[in-house]
């Protein structure tokens, strides 16, 4: 028995505030389900998404099947190929949350049939918006396909006791450089088309453009026009797409732009926001990055009324965009009582004409311009029935001008990020060096010829030694060794190198590890309310002084979210109380896996992790603690230290182990104090000490300079 997923429109209405939604599609059903589960558990009002892959988009189920058979990674979920049963299982993990299928197809019948059978009811697109921008299907054919498919969706859902929902893609079209009035008109026209096919629950899209105030005007006009034209009894809402054009190339610029999307959604009165992630321009985002982006968007939107200087939709003058959109819609609807026919004919005669769209059924006489203030305007209105322009004439757009306009938003946010001194994230511009650095660490009973055989092996492999350190412990008769070497060796080569080293290691009974230093060390940072160590670590990472990547900050309090966001790092708030401890720890474990974290660093994280988790993270979990003598702990430590007149304050960075309060020490530091230090001064000294000691410990750990030796460490600093 297939359990239907939640009703999208009802869910949005019930939320009563901005609902966020990712653009998520993963080929493997288990991973797709994990993504949906993560969205359902994100702790925000969300709608889950299944985005189909490009084979399925163009109706090539065979291509998708072939790719699956070969184990190739698809860029979405092959819905038709997996079929309704598998899709239903995947969607079931949403646990009542609506799941929308996003696709991009000009002939969506098969996709709709599958989603109906899978118990789903929500999708998106449109006869124009999924035809003109993406391919060669003639518009008349797309209209016919969409007519059949929309009716079929409506009837199929009704038969299953569900309500079909369709969202227009008409508010996006080519993604950028389309003046808002045409987007608003297309969105409303496609909405009317859906209604004419019997769909009673729709959403109207609008894609963020170059100017936030202009966007809010457009959203106000969209709401007004929809209110006038959609018949009573149609349940409709407005959905904003976060910027769909060329994305900023710096991580910080991308973060700024995604924040701005959430602010425009909130101030423009959107009911739902399709969220982009900051890594969008570089690669497909991971599930965790998607979830972090959803949480960030929900948070930004929640405070937009206070933190953003943008006007809301009642404070803007939308008369110009409303007049243009109304003129377009009226002219189209006058062509035929059938909206599909009217759309087809409108493009044929140029009443509708999408700027820069190369499709044969689009006349292509219109052109767009970005005005000096950043607003989109018509450079050439073609033959569209727009009201007379007050002060604009048509101008030629040259190639270099077009290029600048396509990059306008990306450049604007990249520059803003630089101006705000937010430097490029670690993923900004990494190149793969021809030569790689490796580190070999080993421990074994001390014997003759170890160093000789190890270096001999490296020479055989044509690796040159960059740094070599060893320590023979006379009490335990153990040898500790760290060799850093350099050479040409691909990803496959590391595995090969490990294999080849095995005989040498076996000969001496070594415990050893071989690491590829070109693979960035990923450390999740956990924190409670004291941000001094967190801020120090993130600053060192950004300035390049600490060679790690921080994929996320996790906290049991929301207090330091802004600090993480300022550094452009996703922030996960996992509240912990007595009863939620196991589930919170499960969530943490999931994050560690999702982010493929090598290490977890506790920077004044005030909860105790379970012995099981500590055991799992042995040698990968680092903590910093205050070391005040004599044994001052508990509340008001600096006050008590001041009262006792302590002469030394210290900090200890150490590995956390399951059965020890304080595990193997990596680094300790101290400063002298005396009777003149106030409690506040003692606190400052101590915070600096903790931050610097922890930073050294994390650096040595990441560079594989720390070798565990029972309850102590050997550090080749």
């Amino acid at each position: 028995m297939i359990r239907p997923t939640g009703d999208l429109a009802a869910h949005v209405r019930a939320a009563g505030r901005l609902v966020v939604q990712p653009r998520m599609g993963i080929g493997d059903p288990a991973r797709m389900a994990a993504g949906i589960r993560a969205v359902a558990r994100a702790g925000v009002d969300a709608v889950a998404t299944i985005t189909v892959d490009s084979y399925t988009r163009v109706g090539d189920a065979e291509g998708a099947r072939d790719a699956l058979r070969r184990g190739a990674l698809l860029n979405g979920f092959p819905l038709v190929t997996h079929g309704p049963a598998v899709t239903a299982e995947v969607a079931a993990v949403a646990d009542g949350l609506p799941v929308q299928v996003r696709h991009g197809s000009a002939a969506p019948e098969q996709i709709f049939r599958t989603l109906i059978e899978a118990g789903l009811s929500a999708s998106e697109g449109g006869p124009v918006s999924y035809c003109l921008p993406y391919g060669r299907t003639p518009l008349a054919e797309s209209v016919a396909h969409w007519r059949d498919a929309s009716q079929q969706l409506q009837e199929g859902c009704e038969a299953g006791g569900r309500r079909a929902h369709l969202e227009t893609f008409g508010g996006c079209l080519l993604g950028q450089l389309c003046p808002p009035s045409l987007l608003v008109a297309m969105s409303v026209l496609e909405g009317l088309f859906f209604v004419q096919q019997g769909v009673r629950s729709i959403s109207l899209s609008y894609a963020q453009q170059t100017d936030p105030v202009q966007d809010i005007e457009a959203m106000a006009a969209l709401r007004r026009l929809a209110g006038l034209l959609l018949p009573p009894g149609v349940d409709w809402h407005v959905v904003l797409y976060g910027y769909m054009g060329v994305f900023p190339s710096t991580a910080a610029g991308a973060v700024l732009l995604t924040e701005r999307s959430a602010q425009v959604a909130a101030r423009g009165g959107a009911d739902r926001l399709i969220v982009k992630t900051a890594v969008e321009s570089l690669r497909l985002p991971t599930v965790a990055e998607n979830v972090a982006a959803l949480r960030g968007a929900a948070r930004t939107a929640a405070v937009a009324g206070v933190h953003s200087r943008l006007p809301d939709l009642t404070q803007v003058d939308c008369s110009e965009v409303l007049a243009e959109a109304t003129a377009l819609v009226d002219a189209v609807l006058a062509l035929s009582d059938d909206v599909g026919t009217a759309l087809r004919d409108a493009f044929a005669v140029g009443l509708l004409d999408v700027p820069y769209c190369l499709h044969r059924d689009n006349l292509g006489r219109t052109r767009t311009l970005i005005e000096p203030g950043g607003r989109l305007a018509w450079a050439d209105r073609g033959g569209m029935p727009l009201p007379p322009a007050v002060h604009r004439t048509s101008i030629q757009v040259a190639s270099q001008h077009l290029l600048r306009m396509l990059r306008h938003t990306a450049d604007e946010y990249d520059h803003a990020a630089v101006a705000a001194d937010r430097t490029t994230g670690p993923e900004g511009s990494r190149t793969v060096p021809a030569e790689q650095d490796f580190v070999l660490t080993l421990t074994c009973p001390d014997r003759r010829a170890i160093a000789r055989d190890v270096t001999g092996f490296l020479a055989e492999q044509q690796l040159s030694i960059v740094d070599s350190r060893q320590f023979a412990d006379v009490t335990s008769e153990q040898l500790f060794m760290r060799v850093q070497m350099r050479g040409e060796c691909g990803v496959a080569g590391v595995e090969q190198l490990r294999k080849e080293f095995e005989p040498v290691a076996d000969r001496f009974g070594m415990r050893w590890q071989l690491h590829d230093l070109t693979v960035p060390h990923r450390a999740i940072i956990m924190v409670s309310r004291h941000g001094h160590c967190l801020n120090d670590l993130l600053f060192r990472v950004r300035s390049g002084a600490l060679p790690i990547e921080v994929p996320a900050v996790v906290s049991n309090h929301p207090d330091l979210a802004d600090m993480a966001r300022w550094h452009g790092v996703p922030f996960h708030h996992i509240p912990v109380t007595g009863d939620t401890e196991p589930s919170a720890e499960a969530e943490l474990t999931e994050l560690i896996e999702l982010y493929s974290a090598d290490t977890v660093v506790l920077t004044r994280y005030m909860r105790i992790l379970s012995p099981q988790l500590c055991a799992r993270l042995e040698g990968r979990l680092i903590n910093i603690r205050r070391t005040l003598l004599p044994g001052i702990e508990g509340a008001d430590p600096y006050q008590r230290a001041h009262v006792r007149g302590v002469k030394v304050i210290g900090a200890t960075a150490h590995y956390v182990t399951a059965d020890l309060g304080e595990g193997p020490i990596i680094e300790q530091d101290f400063v002298r104090a005396d009777h003149r230090h106030t409690p506040e001064q003692l606190a400052t000294l101590d915070h600096d000490l903790q931050a610097s000691a922890l930073a050294r410990a994390v650096k040595w750990h990441a560079e594989r300079r720390v070798i565990l030796d029972g309850i102590r460490t050997v550090v080749f600093s």
């Binding site: 490009s54 921008p133 993406y134 391919g135 060669r136 080519l174 820069y356 769209c357 190369l358 499709h359 044969r360 757009v397 040259a398 190639s399 077009l402 290029l403 396509l406």
Partner: protein, 150 residues
Amino acid sequence: MTARPVAGHVLLSTVSSDSHTWNLVYLQLLLEESGFVVTNLGACVPDDLLIDTAARTRPDVLLVSSVNGHGHLDGARLIRRVRADPRTRRLAAVIGGKLGVTGDDRPYVEPLREAGFDLVFPQGADAGELPAQLAALVARGRKQNEARVA
């Protein structure tokens, strides 16, 4: 506006799997500004459509632009078919864009040339030099034609 001599007729296209068009819009403008006449085939162009159009309209040069990362695969297949068809065997042909998914297109340059392209512009190549390079190809092609006729 003064009329400029036609620098040549460019058939501008992408490969069959590529739905991107902003690159095509830009290249059309760039080439028109340099005096070329451009036929722009738009998104997702099937090999047959491209070859038939080329045979029918007899352009001076075929310019293929692809940015979806499949250019090294689809482009090689396409140009072999262009070279195998007697009607387009001698057509000057150029490809460029983002030809692979790794960000480093250099490994694809030689194979694409061997497959039959006259010029290959890997990712990061300067589009500003394109008009001059196409003009040189057009001139070379016309000279060869004259030689054949003579």
